[in-house]
């Protein structure tokens, strides 16, 4: 895969992740951590986590072509690394979550991960649909 493609994928992943993390943090925070308040520095948290999560996406790229099953396995590793990174960062900074909240956070990470991939897939589907429409004209023009 070309370097340019990897960068554009990571950029798309970063912006979608950051948006979803910001929205999710607001929802989860207002539901479960009402008493917690933050300063302006907290605004750096979603883009930082979005960036680190996207960078971990390098695990899904290789010069060699992956088969579909290999690509799915790499996605699984990527998700695991994101979970480990987020829980690891919180633990390292002294934050301790209750088991219940840990499950909610882990599920939220899965939700963001799946959403990012679905949004990217939907964009690819739009490209494929437009291509298929044009392919019909192309083939008719040649016959």
């Amino acid at each position: 895969m070309k370097y340019k493609n990897v960068i554009s994928d990571l950029a798309a992943s970063f912006f979608i992740s950051t948006t979803l993390i910001t929205l999710g943090s607001a929802i989860i925070g207002s539901l479960y951590l009402k008493e917690v308040t933050f300063g302006y520095y907290a605004f750096f948290s979603p883009p930082l986590i979005g960036l680190l999560s996207s960078l971990l996406g390098f695990v899904g790229y290789s010069k060699r072509e992956f088969s579909v099953s290999e690509a799915i396995a790499r996605k699984g590793i990527h998700l695991f690394l994101i979970e480990a990174m987020i829980f690891g960062l919180n633990y390292a900074s002294g934050v301790r979550f209750s088991p219940g909240f840990s499950i909610i956070l882990a599920l939220f990470i899965v939700f963001v991960f799946v959403s990012v991939n679905v949004i990217i897939w939907l964009n690819d589907k739009r490209v494929a649909d437009a291509f298929n429409k044009e392919l019909e004209f192309f083939q008719k023009g040649m016959n």
Partner: protein, 151 residues
């Protein structure tokens, strides 16, 4: 454009003559279409030599230094390298879609998104072939043919 068909008696003298003012893209397309209708290439099937019509080939695939041509229900070994097939048959709408596959666009039914920005090519034979990310733009370019209204 006027089209004239003149019947002749000798099969070997069959020909198509294109008379045009300029060699436009439309004329080039007609030219490559006519060429593709007459092209046959030699292949080997179960140890026997055979002639394959180029238009019947869905795709070429390189496997272990060998090149294979896939038709509706047959596979032929071709004595060419993949890049040679890609170059030789590019005017007939064959295009590279991955490191090991050259696809006949005329036998492509549709594409659908796969993982990691790749696409799956659904062939008219029902087979599926992976399109690598790095080749999708050249395939789109070929199909859209410089159409500025593309995606």
């Amino acid at each position: 454009m006027r089209v004239t068909v003149r019947k002749i008696k000798n099969k070997e003298q069959e020909q198509v003559v294109i008379e045009c003012v300029d060699l436009t893209q439309e004329i080039k397309d007609i030219y490559s279409y006519v060429l593709s209708k007459g092209v046959e290439l030699p292949g080997v099937e179960d140890g026997h030599m055979a002639k394959i019509k180029l238009e019947d080939i869905y795709y070429f695939e390189a496997v272990d230094e060998k090149l294979f041509a896939y038709t509706q229900n047959k596979v032929f070994e071709i004595k060419l390298r993949l890049y040679e097939a890609e170059r030789a048959y590019a005017p007939y709408h064959f295009i590279r879609c991955s490191k090991s596959v050259v696809l006949n666009l005329m036998q492509l039914k549709s594409i659908s998104p796969a993982l990691n920005g790749r696409f799956l090519a659904h062939l008219k034979s029902g087979e599926k072939v992976m399109i690598s990310r790095q080749y999708i733009s050249s395939i789109r370019e070929k199909v859209f043919g410089g159409n500025k209204n593309e995606i």
